[in-house]
């Protein structure tokens, strides 16, 4: 029996970002997967050290454009721990609202992408039409559709005025109705069920072993959500459910996300009702005191961790992030084994991969000798350019 290798990527129709998989196949069946990361690696952690603390917010926002709000929230929470200040209550609720709007947009986006991966283009078009309602809300609050730049060290920048609240509630009502409809589509549509049920199974034990996070873990019946485990801002004052499914397959991951969208809509409504008038930020000194701090936030894709260290200078001494897609890649490789080539798009999409998040770290490949894809010339040119020697 001979295996053959199919490289997919880095430019491919399924995922927008550059990423390469080497599939080892036995006929149609996947035997092994070798992912190759690093195409979108930009060196953001080092870049953080070149920027002031405030400029760091803008770079943190551009680690990932889809889950930009959790990134800035997490960075600001960590820096606020350095200052040891408490953010005003209204700012905490505003942070919850903007985080949950981000989650709604990210999950709806993902449902559309799943439809596209399954060849169900109609679903993609419908979901992306409805997603524009969230984008309109974010634009109304902050003036920008995707990156609201809402958080600052010590609070938030933009307030929600009383005139905005009826518009937000009206759009949320519309979204709730549509999301319920998409839930019924995912539950009942025979073509979706045929492509997703019992595909890409990740058992509860495996999910725990491989440290899966976010909806990927929750679809394998692992109760893990930072909003419950370690409530930040004021999530402990809000009543909502932790969604888990025990089907462990792609369908379960889709259902977790749909149900979470409904929960997020209810969280935004509660936060709007609980919000009292007051200040939205506190003034802080330009440079935080010496120390180090971490913060955890539940991003749409899972647990996000930011670490910052200050040595009393104008720029951070060190900044480090751990993002959810990176944590889910071992699980993804496990899920793919034993399924067919045709299942690849659905399974890869099911962890909601976001390589922009993942690739700010240097990925040291332990099997570099056998996996390295660069030709010798490319490697040589790179090293010469890097050290400034003429090519």
């Amino acid at each position: 029996m001979s295996y053959y290798q199919v490289p997919i990527g880095p430019q491919h129709p399924a995922i927008k970002e550059a990423f390469q998989f080497n599939f080892i196949l036995d006929g149609e069946v996947i035997v092994d997967v070798k992912p190759r990361l690093g195409f979108v690696h930009r060196g953001i952690e080092k870049g953080m050290e070149l920027r002031t603390w405030v400029q760091g917010i803008f770079l943190a926002e551009r680690i990932c454009g889809i889950c930009n709000v959790p990134h800035t929230t997490c960075y600001c929470l960590a820096v606020e721990k350095l200052y040891d200040i408490d953010v005003p209550e209204r700012a905490k609720y505003l942070r919850i609202i903007i985080n949950e709007l981000n989650r709604i947009h990210s999950h709806l986006l993902w449902i559309g992408i799943l439809g596209m991966e399954l060849g169900f283009h109609t679903l993609f078009m419908y979901v992306w039409r409805d997603r524009e309602k969230v984008m309109d809300l974010v634009e109304m609050i902050s003036g920008n559709r995707v990156t609201p730049s809402m958080n600052c060290i010590g609070g938030v920048v933009y307030d929600i005025t009383p005139e905005m609240i009826p518009i937000i509630k009206r759009n949320l009502d519309y979204l709730e109705e549509r999301t319920k409809y998409y839930k019924s589509v995912l539950e009942e549509d025979p073509s979706i069920r045929a492509r997703t049920v019992d595909v890409g199974v990740l058992s509860t034990e495996k999910a725990l072993d491989l440290c899966a996070v976010g909806p990927t873990a929750r679809a394998s019946n692992v109760k893990s959500d930072v909003r419950f485990d370690d409530p930040y801002t004021l999530y402990d004052t809000i009543d909502f459910n932790l969604i888990t499914y025990d089907t462990c397959d792609v369908w379960g991951r889709a259902m977790v996300r749909v149900d979470e969208t409904l929960e997020s809509i209810s969280v935004v409504r509660q936060a709007l009702d609980k919000m009292r008038p007051g200040p939205i930020n506190v003034k802080v000194k330009r440079i935080p005191p010496v120390g180090e701090a971490t913060a955890r936030v539940e991003a749409p894709r899972g647990e996000l961790l930011h670490y910052v260290k200050s040595d009393g200078k104008e720029t951070p001494y060190r900044a480090k992030m751990r993002t959810p897609t990176m944590a889910n890649i071992p699980s993804l490789c496990e899920m793919l084994k034993g399924y067919h080539i045709a299942d690849i798009p659905a399974i890869v999409a099911s962890i909601d991969p976001c390589y922009c998040c993942t690739e700010r770290v240097i990925f040291i490949d332990p099997n570099r000798g056998e996996k390295w894809v660069w030709s010798y010339d490319e490697l040589r040119n790179y090293s010469r350019k890097y050290y400034g020697v003429g090519v």
């Binding site: 970002e17 979108v40 060196g43 454009g65 524009e132």
Partner: protein, 141 residues
């Protein structure tokens, strides 16, 4: 024969789309331009998976050192005449990633660019504007 080619190119430019190190925000905005609210498909634009089918390459993001040779190869695989749209501030100049060691800068460091669309992230309206201007440019020859 050449007039049929030119006519079909104006009526239906096919696009290929590549992320060279963007933060994903431009990517979802370019995709939103293809979705129903903005709908660039009314200009006959179709998203394609292969560089060999494409007339227009839309690139988002600053070019990282790793992806630069791939970008060049994809550009070379496209049939002539080919057009490149740099979508977003990062694709135009490197943008917010100044000083990051693995970022080369704008995509014009690697391949020639027909049109720059600034914005962080680029708005779907700006993408539509760029496409309309590109089609006008094709019409005028």
């Amino acid at each position: 024969m050449p007039s049929i080619l030119a006519w079909s190119r104006i009526r239906s430019p096919w696009i290929l789309y590549m992320c060279t190190g963007a933060c994903n925000a431009c990517d979802i905005e370019v995709l939103a331009a293809l979705a129903p609210k903005y709908d660039v498909e009314r200009f006959g634009i179709l998203l394609k998976g292969s560089p060999r089918h494409a007339d227009v390459l839309i690139v988002t993001g600053a070019v990282s050192r790793q992806v630069a040779p791939r970008l060049k190869r994809i550009y070379e695989q496209m049939p002539d005449p080919k057009f490149v749209i740099a979508a977003g501030t990062c694709a135009t100049s490197g943008g917010v990633y100044w000083g990051c060691y693995n970022v080369l800068g704008g995509i014009d460091k690697v391949i020639p660019v027909t049109m720059y669309v600034p914005g962080c992230p680029v708005r779907p309206e700006a993408v539509i504007d760029a496409v309309a201007k590109l089609i006008a440019k094709l019409k005028s020859g």
